[in-house]
Amino acid sequence: MKTVLATLLALIIAIGGGAASVWFLLEEAPAADGLNIGPWIAYPSLGTRDADPYSRARFVRRGGVPMGQAEGIVFTARTDSNQQTLVSGCTYRLDGPMPVARFWTLHAVDNSGRPLPEFEGRPAALQAMQVQREADNSFTITASSQAHPGNWLAITRPGPYQLLLTLLDTPISTGAAVEEIRLPTITRVSCDV
């Protein structure tokens, strides 16, 4: 009887623990192949032959056709530069340098990755040619649910959201030095009460 119980215990720990640890590493833990720059994160090797086994397993579960390294790279921000979750009740300012790229786009998505709905024909998205720049070529983008002058990224759905920055044809994805990559900072300006 004791032997049976002990065997059962060992089996439960082995199967349960094995499955749980896989689930945790794939769904909850931060990915080891992530490229972190401030609040932004990208996965340049996702879905390639170079990916580590965990990244590979993660890719198998999600599927899709991620961009290749010569095409571009997608950075995601879930938080502002102070690690606080982006929410539609707050206004954020994005400023700072944009890395060298042929083109960039910035759009807001909900937590499942779907682009936020348009606001009166205005998509929750901006691109390189739309932004108004200062005399020194720099620019500021305001992400808010309320209209703002200048470069306004309209956040149309209440709740938390994420920002996706897509850089097309950029040396970053093909292996420029990580320390030299500068991405815009996201600063919380104000919040509705």
Partner: protein, 180 residues
């Protein structure tokens, strides 16, 4: 007591083995890779616009309001694949995926002579055969040499704003993806 500790230890080691086994067996048993998903909805060489497809083909997080994409499956044993458009687009890039959906090669229009997407995907054997007698029609083509026989290409095109919607729409609608 000792027996319990022993069972616990065996369980932990077993959990490690199960963990590694799952991680390495997951890719081998997957059926929701992009190639299989596209195969379920389109014939080989049939261009598929990746816009109205199910999220299982293209997860929402990989969609971009400024990019349009078209996918096309191929089999190089039918001969080299030519992907071409008739119209110029503001920016295009292409990725090649193997049978299991892994991205093996990508290229952007920076490498191409013109703004009209025109690619020839072939194996090194086909390339050397073609080199012997290069037809003039491939002057402007970008050659992509690969070891993938069965695979899929995805062509992404930038639509910077509304004024490009019609032009890009026409170009994507007329994409040809055929063996030569």
């Amino acid at each position: 007591m000792f027996r319990l500790l022993y069972a616990f230890l065996v369980g932990i080691i077993g959990a490690g083995i199960v963990h590694i086994a799952i991680i390495f067996l997951l890719p081998a048993n997957a059926s929701n890779d992009a190639w299989s998903r596209i195969a379920a909805i389109a014939e080989p060489y049939q261009p598929v616009l990746l816009e109205n497809v199910e999220p299982s083909v293209l997860p929402a997080s990989q969609r971009n309001p400024f990019l349009r994409a078209v996918a096309c499956r191929f089999d190089l044993s039918d001969g080299p694949l030519r992907v071409s458009a008739r119209e110029a687009v503001p920016f295009w890039s292409m990725s090649l995926y193997d049978r299991s959906g892994l991205n093996v090669f990508s290229i952007s229009d920076r490498a191409a002579p013109g703004n009209v997407p025109d690619l020839l995907v072939l194996t090194s054997k086909q390339l050397s055969e073609l080199r012997n007698e290069m037809p003039e029609t491939f002057d402007q083509s970008l050659f992509v040499e690969t070891d993938v026989t069965q695979g899929m290409i995805v062509l992404r095109v930038l639509v910077p704003d509304e004024s490009y919607v019609r032009q890009v729409g026409r170009a994507l609608g007329a994409i040809s993806c055929k063996p030569i």
